[in-house]
C-alpha cells in the first residue's frame, strides 16, 4: 500500500521535497541491495557499502532539497553513478586501484556533484570538530539556536540566564569563539 505511493521516480522526488520520511525510506530500501552488491563485488565490506550508499543518498537528497537536481536519468542510475564515483575515490585513498570494476549498471558523469559533496563534507567535518572543541555550554547554546532554531526565550529558560539579552550576549560570545576555531582550520578552496 505504502509502497505504491512511490512507484515512480517523480513520486519519490516529490515525496522528498515534501520532507516525507517514508519517501526517503522507500528510496533507501529500494536501491541499497544494488549498491551493496556493487561495493561487495569490488572488494568492499558491508560497512563500507552502507557508508558509501548513505553518502550517495545524501548527495541525491540534498540536491533535491536545494532544488538544483536536473535528473537526466533514472534515480537508480544517478545513485549508482554517485556511489561508483565515491567508491573509486575511496579505493584510490586506500591505495588500491580498481583495474577492472565489476560494473552492475550503466552510469552517468557526476563528478561535479561528488566534488561539491566532498567539499561540503570537509567543511562540515571541520565544523563538527570546532563544535567539539567549543565545549559546553557554548556548544549546546549554538546548536540550539543555529541548528535547532529554538527561539531566544526558550534558550534563556533552558540555560538559566536572567534575561534574553544575557543569553544573546553569551551566544555571540560563543559564536565568536567558534568562528575563530572554525576559520583556524578551514580554508575554503576558492
Amino acid at each position: 500500500m505504502k509502497k505504491s505511493l512511490y512507484e515512480t521516480d517523480e513520486a519519490v522526488i516529490e515525496g522528498i521535497r515534501r520532507s516525507d520520511e517514508r519517501a526517503l525510506a522507500h528510496l533507501y530500501k529500494l536501491y541499497f541491495p544494488m549498491i551493496s552488491h556493487f561495493i561487495l563485488s569490488n572488494s568492499g565490506t558491508d560497512d563500507e557499502a552502507k557508508d558509501i550508499y548513505q553518502e550517495g543518498v545524501i548527495v541525491f537528497y540534498e540536491k533535491i532539497k536545494d532544488n538544483n537536481l536536473e535528473l537526466t536519468c533514472q534515480i537508480k542510475t544517478y545513485l549508482y553513478s554517485v556511489c561508483r564515483r565515491l567508491w573509486l575515490k575511496r579505493l584510490a585513498e586506500k591505495g588500491r586501484y580498481a583495474t577492472r570494476l565489476d560494473e552492475t549498471d550503466s552510469f552517468v558523469p557526476v563528478e561535479e556533484d561528488t566534488l561539491h559533496h566532498e567539499e561540503q563534507e570537509k567543511q562540515f567535518g571541520v565544523m563538527g570538530d570546532a563544535l567539539e572543541q567549543l565545549g559546553e555550554p557554548c556548544r549546546s547554546l549554538i546548536e540550539d539556536y543555529y541548528i535547532r532554531m529554538q527561539n531566544m526565550q526558550d534558550i534563556t529558560d533552558k540555560f538559566g540566564y536572567t534575561n534574553t539579552d544575557t543569553a544573546k550576549n553569551q551566544k555571540y560570545k560563543c559564536l565568536q569563539r567558534l568562528k575563530k576555531i572554525f576559520f583556524a582550520t578551514y580554508k575554503p578552496e576558492v
Partner: protein, 380 residues
C-alpha cells in the same frame, strides 16, 4: 549614520562597549542575512558594505559559518535518519541480506572453480594412472579383492559348516535341507550336535555308518555355545550300546594330536590334525582352534585326542584362512548336560565311564567310533 551606534547602550563601560559593539554588529549581520531588515534599513546596510571592506569580510565569513553550521546540523540529522532506515531495513530482511558466504562465494567463485577443476583432474588422473599400473598384475588384484570379501564375511562370525543338500540323494519323499554331524553322549539315546545344524528344523533324522536310522527331536539347546542335545524319539529304541569314549573336563594341551569323524558328504570322513590354539575365533576361550581340514557338514562332529577322549565339538572354521577350524571345548558340553539334568525334563544322563579306545591304534579306534557318529539330517 551607523545603525549600530544608534542602538548603543550608554550604561556600559568602555571595554564592554567595544565587545557589545561587536555583538551588536553580529546581530545586525544576522538580521541582514536572515532578511529580517526592512527595505530601507537593508539598503543602508548594503551601502555600508560597499564602502566598509572589513564589514563586508565579516558578513561573508559569518554567512559561511552559519551555512556550515546549518549544513552540519542538517546532514547530521539526515545521517541519523538514514541510519534509522538502515537498521529498520536490516531488521525487516535479516535473512535476505547477503550473508558472508554468498559474498565470499561471489568474490572467489572463479578461484574456487579453478581449484576444484584442478583437484578433480588430479584425482581422476591419479585414479586412471593407478589403474594403468595395476593392469599387469591383475591377478594379484583379483586375489586382493577376494581376500577383502572374506574379511567382510569374517566380521559376521564363524562360517557355519552346513552342507546344503540340493540333489535328491535318497529316495526319501523329501530330501533333507541341511545336514551335519552328531555323536552319542549316552547309550540311552542322547546325541549332541551343533545348534546351527538343527536350527529351524521341522524334523531331524540321524543315521550312522551301519545304516541305522533314528528319528530324533531336539530337547535342549545352548545358542551361546552352539550346542544342541537331541534325543531319539522312537518307542522301540534299544540303545546305542556301550560308548567307547569318555568326556574330558580339563583343557587339552597345545599341539596335541586330535582327530574327528564327520559327514561332509554321504560317507563318513576322518580328519586329523593338532590342537593349534587354546582359544577360538576372535579369542573365544570356550573353543579350541584346530588344524583339521573341515568342510560343510562337519559341524557337530566329535573332536577326540590321541587317547580317544572327547575334547570338543566341531563348530566351524574361519573363512579365508587355511587350517583354522574351531571346536567347542568339552567342558561346555558337560556343563550343558548338567544344565539339562537340572531342568528336570529328563532323567540325569549316564555318561560313559570307561574309555576303551586309549590303548588302540587309530583304525581300530575309528572302527569302534563310527557306530556312534551320525549324520544329522534336517528337514524343514
Amino acid at each position: 549614520m551607523l545603525p549600530i551606534s544608534l542602538k548603543f547602550d550608554q550604561a556600559n563601560t568602555f571595554w564592554e562597549k567595544t565587545t557589545m559593539l561587536e555583538y551588536r554588529a553580529y546581530e545586525e549581520i544576522e538580521r541582514y542575512l536572515n532578511g529580517q531588515m526592512a527595505a530601507e534599513e537593508r539598503a543602508g546596510f548594503e551601502a555600508l558594505l560597499r564602502t566598509d571592506a572589513r564589514l563586508a569580510e565579516q558578513v561573508r565569513e559569518h554567512r559561511q559559518m552559519l551555512q556550515a553550521l546549518k549544513g552540519f546540523g542538517q546532514r547530521r540529522d539526515l545521517r541519523q535518519q538514514l541510519n534509522n532506515i538502515h537498521s529498520q531495513m536490516e531488521a525487516e530482511q535479516q535473512p535476505a541480506a547477503p550473508n558472508g558466504w554468498t559474498v565470499y562465494w561471489n568474490r572467489h567463485k572463479q578461484t574456487v572453480a579453478v581449484a576444484a577443476s584442478v583437484s578433480l583432474l588430479s584425482v581422476f588422473g591419479t585414479l586412471w594412472s593407478v589403474q594403468q599400473m595395476k593392469a599387469p598384475v591383475q591377478q594379484q588384484t583379483a586375489r586382493y579383492v577376494e581376500l577383502r570379501r572374506e574379511v567382510e564375511r569374517l566380521k559376521k562370525a564363524q562360517t557355519a559348516i552346513i552342507n546344503g543338500i540340493n540333489d535328491a540323494s535318497k529316495p526319501a519323499p523329501r530330501p533333507a535341507a541341511f545336514s551335519g554331524t552328531g555323536f552319542a553322549i549316552s547309550s540311552d539315546g542322547y546325541v549332541v550336535t551343533s545348534s546351527h545344524v538343527v536350527e529351524g528344523a521341522d524334523s531331524i533324522m540321524i543315521e550312522n555308518k551301519a545304516g541305522l536310522k533314528y528319528k530324533v527331536s531336539e530337547i535342549y539347546r545352548d545358542e551361546i555355545h552352539d550346542l544342541s542335545i537331541l534325543k531319539v524319539s522312537e518307542g522301540n529304541f534299544a540303545g546305542f550300546g556301550k560308548l567307547p569314549y569318555t568326556f574330558k573336563n580339563t583343557e587339552s594341551e597345545l599341539g596335541e594330536r586330535v582327530f574327528t569323524l564327520g559327514y561332509p558328504r554321504e560317507d563318513i570322513v576322518f580328519g586329523e590334525g593338532s590342537l593349534s590354539s587354546a582359544s577360538g575365533f576372535e579369542g573365544d576361550t570356550t573353543a579350541y582352534q584346530i588344524s583339521i581340514p573341515l568342510n560343510p557338514g562337519n559341524s557337530g562332529g566329535p573332536l577326540l585326542d590321541d587317547k580317544g577322549n572327547l575334547i570338543g565339538v566341531i563348530s566351524g572354521k574361519q573363512a579365508g584362512q587355511e587350517g583354522a577350524a574351531f571346536a567347542i571345548k568339552s567342558a561346555y558340553l558337560l556343563q550343558l548336560i548338567n544344565e539339562l539334568a537340572i531342568t528336570g525334563q529328563v532323567q540325569p544322563l549316564t555318561l560313559p565311564k570307561n574309555n576303551t579306545l586309549s590303548a588302540q591304534n587309530r583304525p581300530q579306534q575309528l572302527k569302534k567310533l563310527q557306530d556312534h557318529v551320525f549324520v544329522v539330517k534336517v528337514y524343514n
